[in-house]
Amino acid sequence: MISANLSAIFYLVSGVLFILALRGLSSPETSRQGNLFGILGMVIAITVTFLSTGNFSTGFIFVLIFILAGGSIGAFIAYRIPMTAMPELVAGFHSLVGLAAVFVAISAFLNPEAFNLGTPGNIKLGSLIEMSIGAAVGAVTFSGSVIAFLKLQGIMSGSPITFKGQHLVNAIILISIIVLIYLLCSTQSSNLFWILLTISFLIGFLLIIPIGGADMPVVISMLNSYSGWAAAGIGFTLENTALIITGALVGSSGAILSYIMCKGMNRSFFNVILGGFGATDDSVTNSTKEQRPVKSGNADDAAFLMKNASSVIIVPGYGMAVAQAQHALREMVDTLKKNDIKVSYAIHPVAGRMPGHMNVLLAEANVPYDEVFELEEINNDFANADVAFVIGANDVTNPVAKTDPQSPIYGMPVLDVEKCKSVLFVKRSLSPGYAGIDNDLFYKENTLMLFADAKKMTEDITKNL
């Protein structure tokens, strides 16, 4: 058994190691080392916890069994999961953090002596507040992540689910959560604790159902943030520095990612969270739209255009992930490079279903990361490029965002694809993207539409090169 002070110092060390783990991610070279720091931090935290409880009886054996059981499931998932399913995986993992926070809070509420928080029915006020906040946020994280998971997995429709008075219902529930925490602290009633948990689960569910599929990058980042705050809440209850530091890190990390994602769509956080985007009146776009001429081509035409180009910029989007076209795309690019054509990739911040989604897929297909550029880095290059190859992206290339103040996506930063000498647009049909608006790019003089499955089209082009 080690002293409380010594274990506090070790918890601090593991907190610092977690900071270094995140710091490592500032470049791919240092990132692998960073991950090892994270693992080391975790090992220290767990070991110190064992040493400080000094309990190596039967219970200890069971703890090990549960760690091994959970660990093998986790390891199994980590090795088997395809990279395209990463958004679902992350959403699923968030839900587990949330649920674990809820369970720890329940456990502490039922048996406060084990945590030195007082006795049942007489828990220290501060601890009770921290505990109930941790539990409520954890419950919201859990049910919200489950919904996000179901939507991403396609088990539940990705379109927003809205009903009348939705915001009012949510507001009432949020207020009642605060009231319940207050009552819980003054009465210490366990019934109130269970009600608090139940309605927190409910609000997590209600908060996420109105948010549509393409807004998932914001939702996942937000839930990431919540899982951090839940951990921090529990950290205060347990008076554990490692947990407080980690909670704060994860909380701010998720918040920053949500901010970046919202900025990538030029929408306020509340606009996204209140949901329902894209569900508005698609009748307008349908009725006023006259049939405009579209040039469509086949793989042969596309191959011809690219062969004669000296530089090509590839714009991948969610459609590439759906079609699993990243490997086919890389093969096409390899062929282009053999013909001395310069190829780079342009990634919009909100391309895909989670932050950095496209980068991971391209990395999986062995695309060197120094050929992949962010929006600001590459946007000026479109004017000098010969061909832009848009594969599975749509709204993020729509020039309307720059020209039409009436458009719902006006002001959103977009890739200046239309400045290229010619644009190849791989898409299954002319249907509008997530924002429910027509893409002007389809009708431009220099755009050639390639109507096909992204993977099949890419393979065909490679054959024709």
Binding site: M42, I67, L257
Partner: protein, 103 residues
Amino acid sequence: MEIDPLIFRLSIFILSIFVGYYVVWSVTPSLHTPLMSVTNAISSVIIVGAIIAGLSGNSNTVFNTSSIFGFLAIALAAINIFGGFLVTQRMLAMYKKKKKDKK
């Protein structure tokens, strides 16, 4: 007058938010997905609370209502720790620089 230890914890919390803010802004956007999976893994350090809860039973009864919730939380957090770190490792291993010698 003594300062409440809560204030110290609150200070750590606030300062960590600032550290997190600056550290996360310096993360390159191409690594945002690994960032999410690794933050997932480290937030599962909540397992320390779960372990304390799991060990709270006395020597005669390992399992009581409170410790069962602890054990469940241990399993959930362990899934996340192993899954999170390993999947991050797997992703990071894929990020490669252009090979210079490649024709």
